[in-house]
Amino acid sequence: MSPSTIALSQRILAWLMPPAQAEALLGDLLEERRLRLQAGSQVSVAGWYWRQLASSVPVLLWASVRRGAWLITVVTAVASYIAAAGIQFVLLYALSPMTTSMSVREVVALLSFAAALAACGYVAASIRPGAARLLAFLAFAETCAMLAIGTRAPLWFGGSLLVLGPAAAIAGAALSGRWRTG
């Protein structure tokens, strides 16, 4: 089995379970896979492996919801997103008297939102690494919704926000050093 397949399985399981349990489960899968290879073909055993993993995801997902891990992650991400919006509002309010130009204001709005998302991404990742990923997704989804609805903002603004928002949240999380740990 290729290292990339194992790494992918590891990533899926680490997302759903505490690290020690995920490692034990992956070890079980690899051990049984090895046993099955003595009697079956590579293709059938690979099929078994992925069926096991795929059928495990819903039940582990439900177990993680019961554990409350998801709730904390979602609450942290949503709270971080609201905080980022609040910080951006304060920054815009403080900086707006300095210029009357619309395009300068849009650049300020873009940069202040990115800075706020980076700061909140840092905090969210420190609480729960998964929350920073969800924060990046929220920033992306909100911009997509904004573009789909159609606002008065120019296209370059929406396009930049689409890239800069999630990137800022990821950068903040990376700075905390916890982007990939959970």
Binding site: I6, M17, A20, Q21, E23, A24, L25, L26, G27, D28, L29, L30, E31, E32, R34, Q52, S55, S56, V57, P58, V59, L60, W62, A63, R67
Partner: protein, 110 residues
């Protein structure tokens, strides 16, 4: 025993598998034991989720073994039944026995 503490069917099977396997009870062996004895296909995730639930109830406990090469250097998580687990197993078995008692002929028809 409180009314809600009877074991569910998967919980019962997992507990019995852990009991059968003794010191060799860990995720993979529990899964295989259930599959071999019942013919019921079960995912390793379902086994772990059930064991986690049973551990939270205090029916089983776990400890980490040594990492082995055939597992890619990953350690096994062994399980054993606790006293509360034995009590829960007995209560569930007794409940099933009492419910099925005297159903002889009707049982055959079903």
């Amino acid at each position: 025993m409180p009314r809600g503490d009877f074991l569910g069917s998967l919980e019962l099977m997992v507990m019995l598998a852990v009991m059968r396997l003794g010191t060799d009870a860990y995720g993979m062996t529990v899964r295989r034991e259930i599959e071999e004895r019942t013919g019921r296909e079960i995912s390793i995730g379902a086994v772990y989720a059930t064991l986690e639930r049973l551990e939270a109830k205090g029916y089983v406990s776990s400890f980490t073994g040594e990492p082995t090469a055939e597992r890619g250097g990953r350690a096994k998580r062994h399980f054993e039944i606790e006293a509360a687990g034995h009590a829960a197993l007995s209560a569930s078995q007794n409940a099933l026995k009492n419910m099925s008692e005297g159903l002889g002929r009707r049982w055959k028809r079903a």
